[in-house]
């Protein structure tokens, strides 16, 4: 199988320095934008819907639906915002960084098309503060786009105007959660808001807001240029298109790989990444990051797609694949993950604030872990917590207990 057939987010990035706009344009960059600006905005939304594109941030919500919800919420409203979630904080995940560092214009192009489609005139890219290089490359790309009339007033001499600026995070995993990100964007502490209303209805400054992940936006130009059918022909029945997989751990060639959804773990590790490092034996993987699920060898031939993993009680999440081997201290790893949740809990709701604390404290004593007690707490937290953070510890704990508790 040729795994480079369908490069979308990272298209041509291995051949050219795409931080140079000349190169981006040379490889048909901004063609999609030109085409989009000549289209009816509703037709764009339709096309995105038909493509089957799902949010690449982790939740996998259909992107076209999000766009039409946002549009629908703006009956008589005077402002819609578009926000790019580049607060990539999920442990084991580094794909958005790749895109921003290697292909920044595609993000801007995708956002601009989305803005045009939903009728937004103002956008923000929320980049985590630790990503200095991403900040630099996006900042530069935005500046150049303004110089080339690809952003700002009357883009490409047309009637559409769109302003885009960068917002820099400052160290908070929770701000990757969309409503929390919006709170942070408003210059506040990162607290999750009560859902509903969703951002599509009441987002930034309570205005309808389209918020998508970097990778999601980077797929939009492709769909516009090639049509939704072509896009939908990639991937599986319910997971269309390509995905950036972030492979880490003791494999020969860890890294970011853009591949069609539906590839198996075995293919990913043994064909794409060159197999396990010498002397290490595949034991399992943590897929989707800290808020992800452990899998064991029985998953090697399961296609990595939303529906197939869900069927087996696992999640694709952000596309992080942390490969575990026979030397991995699994209980230590679990404790490490729980420490992470404790550190990142904002403390707003009781189950998460106290639950993440007692789970971590309990897990520290590796020789004496009562996994059933932990499951009880995590289940209670999943039911009673306010936002995804408190609802997440159940994922690694439950899958850990299923596959590794021996």
């Amino acid at each position: 199988m040729n795994y480079n057939n369908w490069q979308i987010s990272l298209k041509d990035s291995d051949r050219y320095d795409l931080n140079n706009i000349e190169n981006y344009i040379k490889t048909s960059g901004f063609e999609a934008l030109k085409k989009a600006l000549s289209m009816n905005p509703d037709a764009i939304v339709e096309s995105i819907k038909k493509s089957g594109l799902r949010g690449r941030g982790g939740a996998g919500f259909p992107t076209g639906m999000k766009q039409s919800f946002t549009k629908r919420s703006c009956d008589n409203c005077n402002q819609i915002y578009v926000v790019c979630n580049a607060d990539e904080g999920e442990p084991g995940t580094f794909k958005d960084r790749y895109i921003m560092e290697k292909n920044p214009y595609i993000v801007i192009e995708g956002m601009t098309i989305a803005a045009y489609a939903v009728g937004a005139t103002k956008g923000f890219i929320y980049i985590r503060g630790e990503y200095e290089k991403s900040i630099q490359s996006m900042q530069h790309a935005i500046m150049v786009c303004y110089q080339h009339n690809l952003l700002g007033q009357n883009i490409l001499q047309g009637s559409f105007s769109f302003d885009l600026e960068i917002y820099i995070g400052a160290g908070s995993y929770l701000c990757g959660e969309e409503l929390t990100l919006i709170e942070s964007l408003e210059g506040k502490r990162g607290y999750p808001r009560i859902k509903p209303p969703f951002p599509a209805e009441k987002g930034l400054w309570n205005k309808p807001t389209l918020i998508n992940n970097v990778e999601t936006f980077s797929h939009i130009p492709f769909i516009i240029t090639n049509g939704s059918e072509v896009y939908a022909s990639i991937g599986t029945s319910e997971s269309k298109g390509t995905k950036l997989f972030c492979v880490s751990g003791n494999v020969k060639q860890p890294g970011v790989y853009e591949l069609p959804l539906g590839i198996t773990l075995r293919e990913l590790i043994y064909e794409v990444c060159g197999g396990m490092e010498a002397n290490y034996e595949f034991k399992g993987a943590l897929i989707g990051g800290a808020a992800g699920t452990f899998v064991d060898v029985t998953f090697l031939d399961v296609p990595l797609a939303y529906e197939t993993l869900k069927e087996k009680g696992a999640t694709l999440g952000s596309g992080a694949v942390m490969v575990l081997d026979n030397t991995t201290n699994l209980k230590g790893l679990l404790s490490n993950i729980l420490e992470f949740f404790k550190h990142e809990s904002c403390g707003k709701c009781v189950p998460c604030r106290i639950g993440t604390t007692i789970l971590y404290e309990h897990s520290k004593n590796i020789s004496n872990v009562d996994i059933n007690w932990m499951l009880q707490q995590a289940e209670y937290m999943a039911k009673n917590s306010l936002c995804p953070l408190g609802q997440s510890p159940i994922l690694p704990i439950k899958s850990f207990s299923k596959y590794f508790n021996n």
């Binding site: 809990s345 403390g347 009781v350 604030r353 106290i354 639950g355 604390t357 007692i358 209670y380 306010l386």
Partner: protein, 907 residues
């Protein structure tokens, strides 16, 4: 017009207002769903997770506090699973919680611990670990202490400060298990916190507790909690007074009742110490051999009665006069004016309103027909555009200001017009800073802009203004002289700013004005208000809901005192003393011969003092006022009092004025009174006795009646305050429909013509209260001040109030809390002037005017304009009124407290 929906909770059908909060609806219908972060006055938070319910068709558990009811909603509020989850949540909370309890506050958490059987530590599923969490105690505030170990991180204090008070002082610091509440940079005492204590009132677990009486208070020993009205400004906040051992130990705002809906300011919550203060007057004093010595009531009253009679006989009835009091109840004031009119036989009764909103009232009565505010306090939140002119409303009417700040959060436009920066500027869209006493020019200039831009309301002018278009044309002729360049030159306000403000006001769908002392206390005070009303009338921003002009009143009963007739020109209910028919009716009710009632207007406050100075008035009866500190030109006032043959002062403390009295009579404080007051939006509110006064301290009205009795004059005999009130209802038709029973829980706004009448929230919606039913326009010209800065006195001094002290500070300076915040006089001086006169920050300086001088501390600040200085007037040791003059506005007779020329020298 609300829509109703039917929902089901545990199979019980319930009708509720569409969109109402589910938790609130459930609780109102007997489902005691637990919850600690929810408070009916705050936006839902969803933090404590106790109010979980299940809703058919909704996945998982739902926090009922975050749900609005919709038709057909099927809710399960109680089942085994929900209760199990709640118990687990409580167990979590308990694990991080310090459970020590000292009974100084009401704990909302404890009953839940009991209910869910978690009292026994062995039965708790989670072990306590609160001692492993860093404990933060902030004890730096003068009014409260925060202890993170008792905090359940419910957000109620943060939201109380932000959403209710509009201050946003509080925040969480840190995150996760370690987060805690901060004010300022983790130092409450150094923060913007002004001590209103809203956070204390809303804290459910005693994490924020108040400092005063912390060693004394025991919630199990509270004798009673009495609801009465606040003794300070004219907002009329409803307070719940906690009494222990006949001492006030705590005050809370009364939840859910107008006008304050639970909110208070620092004075209302903490300024109660004066009532139980050891310096209270507890027995009558008479002057013997030049010294005031204690005596019996019998002797004191006999002397007073004899002296009054003697002077009346010797010099005629014009030789007596009285100062009534804005701090006393309606019943006290009514009896006082009745006494003056019957026993003295003249109309020489007035009070501090003459030094306050007299100009406002004079202009409003002439122009609109009523001297009171046209709107309700709630309208300050909902109007689209608000002009606050000459009113430092955040400091002088803090709770009214909370409505404005809440309006701002919803997008209200705010225009502040003031020669001195005020805290409201932080919230304002436009701030105009005119030079002192140039208001007429500014307002005429704004009308010029309005007319030029054709933003007048023609149909309003034609239909609701006397003389219609023609009158408008006369006004136009005057204001067209005030071209922007001329106005800019006179006022110093840039054209761009006042044009923007004028257009913003004129084009707002609804707009209100709050005017204050800055406008009123000038020799051109009445003209100032006329100009303001003209602008309001030509734009038609009055006579509709959420439109109008309002003078927030400075004292708790300054409105009521005039309403019940403490006025030289008006009988109770705003009926001119010159009206013969009414005099007859009143004489009838009072059972006195009609001829005995003087048909001529009496002397006003300052005229009385002048007459005393000229030895025309020989005897004065002062009830609850302190003119030595509050009247202009202090030297003149003291001389006047010294010239009197007989002065009685009836008060709660030995005041600066009482020092000149021949007889001093101890009266009850507000906390020892039954009765009523009227607040700024014409709401009649109850006073209720909270503490029992010393037996030698008498209610004001009772003292007056006893004096009359000893003069063998019948001014009525009453068993209680309610009987007096019912007489007021007969005399003043605007109060007819208001009975004690009707205002037991909520006040009613006059006019209220009969017992079925709901009261009047907005005045003039149908007609104005003038004879013709139409409003009148009085075109006015800008006039220069007679007193001008000179080489000798190069600066102009403005004076005013601050949040933490109150008027002559007789009451507030008895409060340690308030004194901790501010207990020192100062003069604000602009940096340029400071440099010019070589004055450093905090330097001790002498402020000298043509009338007198005082010593104070200089504070360099750009809150004032160059050439102008500002002083708070509360401090008797630096008496601002030693510098002011007693020149008067020709119509309202007010003195120019806001404009005195001075110089400042280093001491």
């Amino acid at each position: 017009m609300s829509e109703y929906v039917t929902i089901q909770i545990n199979d019980k059908p319930i009708v509720a207002k569409k969109g109402d909060n589910l938790l609130k609806v459930a609780r109102e219908n007997g489902f005691e769903i637990p919850g600690l972060c929810y408070h009916p006055r705050l936006s839902p938070t969803g933090a404590c997770r106790l109010c979980v319910v299940k809703i058919a068709g909704v996945q998982g558990l739902v926090m009922s506090c975050t749900v609005q009811v919709t038709d057909g909603m099927n809710v399960i509020a109680f089942d085994e699973e929900l209760e199990r989850n709640r118990r687990h949540t409580l167990a979590y909370l308990l694990a991080e919680h310090n459970e020590e309890y000292d009974a100084t506050y009401v704990d909302e958490f404890k009953p839940l611990i009991e209910k869910y059987q978690l009292l026994n530590t062995k039965e708790r599923p989670i072990q306590s670990f609160w001692q492993n969490i860093p404990r933060v105690i902030d004890d730096t505030s003068p009014v409260l202490t925060y202890d993170s170990s008792k905090c359940i991180r419910c957000f109620r204090c943060i939201k109380a400060c932000e959403e209710l008070q509009g201050k946003g002082v509080l925040s969480f610091a840190d995150r996760g298990i370690q987060k805690y509440i901060v004010a300022g940079l983790a130092n409450w005492g150094d923060s913007e916190c002004d001590g209103c204590g809203e956070c204390i009132q809303l804290c459910p677990t005693g994490a924020i507790v108040e400092k005063p009486n912390r060693e004394v208070i025991d919630v199990n020993k509270i004798q009673r909690k009495v609801i009465t009205s606040c003794p300070y400004c004219g907002v009329g906040c409803q307070i719940e007074v906690w009494v222990q051992d006949n001492k006030i130990v705590r005050i809370n705002g009364v939840e859910d009742v107008s006008p304050n809906y639970g909110r208070l300011c620092v004075k209302g919550r903490f300024g109660y110490q004066y009532a139980n203060h050891k310096e209270r007057l507890t027995q009558p004093l008479v002057r013997k051999n030049g010294k005031l010595v204690p005596t019996t009531w019998e002797e004191a009253l006999t002397i007073v009665a004899q002296k009054f009679a003697e002077i009346k006989q010797k010099y005629g009835n014009k030789a007596l006069a009285g100062y009534s009091s804005a701090k006393c109840s309606n019943e006290d004031n009514y009896i006082f004016q009745k006494f003056i009119r019957i026993a003295f036989g003249n109309n020489n009764v007035d009070y501090c309103t003459r030094l306050c909103h007299a100009s406002t009232v004079a202009a409003m009565i002439r122009s609109l027909g009523d001297g009171a505010g046209s709107n309700s306090i709630e309208d300050f939140e909902t109007t689209d555009c608000l002009i606050v002119i000459g009113n430092n409303i955040i400091e002088t009417h803090p709770v009214t200001a909370t409505f404005i700040k809440r309006g701002k959060q919803k997008g209200q436009k705010i225009i502040v017009i003031d020669p001195k920066w005020t805290p409201l500027v932080k919230y304002a869209d436009i701030f105009l800073q005119p030079r002192l006493a140039t208001d007429v020019a500014l307002l005429n200039g704004m009308m010029y802009v309005i007319i030029k831009n054709d933003l007048i309301n023609k149909s309003f002018i034609e239909q609701r203004i006397e003389g219609g278009w023609e009158t408008f044309k006369q006004l136009e002729k005057v204001v067209m002289k005030y071209t922007p360049d001329i106005v800019e030159k006179i006022t110093g306000v840039p054209e761009k700013l006042f044009s923007e403000a004028a257009i913003m006001y004129a084009t707002a769908p609804t707009a209100m004005i709050a005017t204050g002392m800055g406008m009123s206390q000038q020799t051109v005070g009445t003209n100032n208000v006329f100009a303001l009303l003209n602008m309001c009338l030509i734009t038609g921003q009055i006579g509709r809901e959420r439109c109008g002009v309002n003078p927030p009143r400075g004292q708790n009963n300054v409105q009521g005192a005039t309403d019940v007739g403490a006025s030289p020109i008006m009988y109770p209910g705003y009926i001119p003393v010159t009206n013969e028919e009414i005099r007859k009716k009143v004489a009838d009710i009072w059972q006195v011969p009609f001829e005995q009632l003087d048909p001529n207007p009496g002397l006003t406050t300052l005229e009385i003092m002048d007459a005393a100075h000229e030895r025309k008035v020989k005897a004065m009866y002062i009830m609850g006022e302190n003119p030595v500190v509050t009247d202009p030109n202090q030297l003149h006032t003291i001389e006047a009092l010294q010239n009197l043959e007989f002065l009685i002062v009836q008060d709660i403390f030995m005041t600066e004025t009482a020092a000149y009295a021949h007889v001093v009579l101890p009266a009850t404080s507000l906390f020892e009174k039954d009765g009523t007051v009227v607040n700024s939006d014409r709401r009649v509110l109850r006073l209720r006795k909270a503490i029992v006064s010393d037996k030698n301290i008498w209610p004001d009205w009772k003292i007056i009646v006893e004096i009359a009795n000893r003069m063998s004059i019948n001014i009525g005999n009453y068993n209680n305050e309610e009987e007096i009130w019912n007489e007021i209802r007969q005399v003043a038709p605007i109060m007819s429909g208001i009975s004690y029973e009707r205002i037991d829980k909520q006040g009613i706004q006059w006019p209220c013509w009969h017992e079925q009448h709901p009261g009047t929230s907005t005045l003039y919606t149908e007609k104005f209260n003038t004879l013709t039913g139409k409003a009148k326009i009085y075109p006015v010209e800008y006039q220069e001040q007679s007193e001008k800065p000179s080489v000798e006195f190069p600066l102009v001094m403005n004076s005013g109030r601050i949040l933490y002290q109150y008027h002559s500070a007789t009451m507030t300076r008895k409060s340690e809390v308030l004194n901790t915040f501010a207990n020192e006089s100062y003069v604000l001086i602009h940096p340029e002037d400071a440099q010019k006169y070589n004055i450093s920050n905090h330097a001790k300086v002498k402020v000298v005017s043509p009338r007198g001088e005082l010593t104070t501390k200089a504070i360099i600040s750009d809150e004032v304009l160059p050439g102008e200085v500002f002083m708070p007037w509360h401090f008797h040791e630096a008496p601002v009124n030693a510098l002011t003059r007693n020149e008067k506005d020709p119509i309202s007779k007010i003195a120019p407290f806001k404009y005195s020329v001075v110089r400042i020298e280093l001491v």
